[in-house]
């Protein structure tokens, strides 16, 4: 088992524990982006780079990732979802430097990330990079495409957009609700260098993040599974919302612990 796989497992276990203790939903939305977040925070981001979680409903996965790399403590995580916490269901403003913007309303993260990338590339000329994780449902939002148009037009090569393409959104499959496919062609048409990959495969993530093309913003279409790692949650829309019962918590933990 590689180092990154061990971290991903640690994040998933922590995430399930957090949601169980908090009796909170959005579990499967977090599970779909664990490898992406682990790779970004462990391998890709430097202290000068910036990460924006545009899919704010994946916050618990981000909190667990920041915990796994030592940015958040056990004490911080113990407050998750509790009265008085800074770890709300969606990221709070001005709480932690590793989470620069409050998100949760979809379609906000990419314009902000694009602004940071433009400022760094055109004004500060500092080589700092920006990554933004967007959900596939979020590609319904017009503001996401406004930002894509701008980033492509200005050739923001310091911007990497990752689409957590798990195929499910709030009340149905993305295919049925408002089909955003073909995502590859769409992002290419907006001026991005696009790669399609298995968003749970670290070697593919590594290869995609390292083979970015100069002169263009990058878009990684990460094909993922909502609820990845917990069999009864995987690809089930209901787990966008449901909290865990004791029985299902134990089942989930047992499954995760047995995974190599």
């Amino acid at each position: 088992m590689t180092e990154l796989s061990k971290i991903a497992k640690k994040i998933r276990v922590q995430l399930i524990q957090m949601h169980y203790k908090a009796n909170s939903g959005h579990i499967s939305s977090g599970l779909s982006c664990v490898e992406i977040l682990a790779y970004l925070h462990k391998e890709w981001l430097t202290p000068n780079d910036c990460f924006i979680l545009s899919k704010g409903h994946g916050a618990s996965a981000l909190y667990a990732t920041l915990w796994a790399i030592g940015v958040l403590t056990d004490k911080d995580l113990a407050t998750y979802y509790q009265d008085g916490t800074l770890l709300s269901a969606h990221p709070a403003p001005l709480a932690f430097s590793a989470i620069p913007f409050a998100t949760g309303s979809l379609g906000h993260g990419l314009p902000i990330a694009t602004g940071i990338a433009y400022a760094n590339q055109i004004f500060h000329e500092n080589g700092n990079r920006t990554a933004c994780l967007v959900s596939d449902g979020e590609c319904n939002e017009g503001s996401t495409w406004e930002a894509a148009l701008f980033a492509g037009h200005h050739k923001l090569e310091n911007l990497t957009v990752i689409i957590d393409s798990n195929g499910l959104q709030g009340f149905g499959s993305t295919k049925d609700v408002l089909n955003t496919e073909p995502l590859v062609k769409k992002w290419e048409a907006f001026g991005f260098a696009v790669q399609e990959l298995d968003g749970h495969d670290f070697s593919q993530l590594n290869s995609a993040f390292k083979s970015q093309i100069p002169g263009k913003p990058s878009c990684l279409i990460a094909r993922t599974h909502k609820g990845k790692g917990v069999s009864f949650m995987q690809d089930q829309m209901s787990w966008h919302y449901l909290p865990l019962t004791k029985e299902l918590y134990e089942k989930a933990m047992s499954e995760l612990e047995s995974q190599s």
Binding site: P111, A113, I116, A119, I122, H124
Partner: protein
């Protein structure tokens, strides 16, 4: 006010290398000189206001001071959630500038009118609103905004009744102006609606009424610093506010709630009605009984009815 704003902005860009001007594809015969003089510090972000506000938040996060410009409804209502979430919740010094307050865009139609902007923005956390009374106040507003290290909104407008009169006194911090000393009533113009009160003042004087006249142009109010204004209210015991903004949610309501004294208080404001017609800013004001003659008449009626009421009480 756009010319004065452009001049003031030019000055800001000259003196502060962090400042950047972002336009939502507007500026023909207005921003060419800025574009030429400041190169990449003038950015046309295209017709995409939601993205523009997000960009502003991102710029600000890296230490830049962005000024975002468009027509009022496009840069306020269209992207309201971006203003709240991306800018205000993070208390970022992003400076929104809307051109066309009130009925400025007159014949352009209802989509271009701005009669709700201040009401909608005033409740946002960390937001300060600036709405100059006259062209000659814009420079002071822009300088005041530059010193404000938090979100701001500047409302530029053209009055249907362009005129100006000497200012007796202006508070450099609150930007409240005192225009005329009088005794019968405290008359307040909110932002550029003040200009409408200048011809009104002449009508009132010829009717034997000399009001105390003020222009308010910044929110939140700091009435504890506007001593001439609060003293006037205490002295006259009557307040009448004129604003080019719907009454509901407007600055008049906020002022009434902010005054510590319970005094007779009247607000004259435009209103929407089915069947309204379109024309110049002056036409629109007249359609809502907001021409100087009608305003003067309503002021005189207000003074008379309040005097009668107080006479009955005694």
């Amino acid at each position: 006010m756009r010319i004065e704003f452009t001049q003031a902005l030019h000055h800001i860009l000259e003196n502060d290398p962090r400042s950047v001007f972002i336009s939502g594809d507007l500026g023909f015969k207005a921003f060419e000189k800025i574009q030429e003089a400041f190169g990449k510090r003038f950015l046309n972000a295209g017709v995409a206001e939601q993205n523009m506000v997000g960009l502003g938040a991102g710029f600000s996060y890296t230490g830049l001071r962005p000024w975002l410009y468009s027509i009022v409804p496009f840069i306020t209502l269209r992207c309201l959630e971006q203003i709240r979430n991306d800018i205000c919740l993070h208390n970022l010094p992003v400076h929104i500038v809307g051109n066309g307050g009130g009925y400025t865009y007159g014949i352009m139609g209802g989509t271009h009118h701005a009669l709700e902007d201040l009401g909608i923005l005033k409740g946002l956390p960390n937001m300060t609103l600036f709405f100059p009374c006259e062209n000659n106040q814009v420079e002071a507003h822009v300088q005041n905004i530059q010193r404000t290290l938090s979100p701001t909104y500047l409302r530029l407008a053209i009055s249907g009744f362009q005129s100006s009169m000497p200012v007796l006194e202006e508070n450099p911090e609150t930007l409240t102006r005192h225009y005329n000393r009088g005794s019968k009533i405290t008359l307040i113009g909110m932002g550029h609606a003040l200009q409408l009160l200048i011809p009104t003042l002449e009508i009132l004087k010829s009717s034997g009424v000399n009001p105390d006249l003020f222009g308010i142009s910044k929110f939140p109010f700091q009435l504890e610093k506007d001593l001439a204004l609060t003293e006037s209210v205490r002295k006259t015991g009557k307040v009448l506010v004129v604003e080019e903004h719907y009454k509901t949610g407007g600055m008049g309501e906020s002022l009434q709630a902010s005054l510590e004294m319970a005094v007779p208080f009247k607000i004259l404001a435009p209103y929407y009605f089915r069947g309204q017609r379109y024309g110049s800013p002056r036409f629109h004001l007249g359609q809502c009984r907001m021409d100087p003659e009608n305003i003067a008449m309503q002021i005189l009626e207000f003074i008379k009815s309040e005097n009668e009421a107080s006479h009955h009480e005694t």
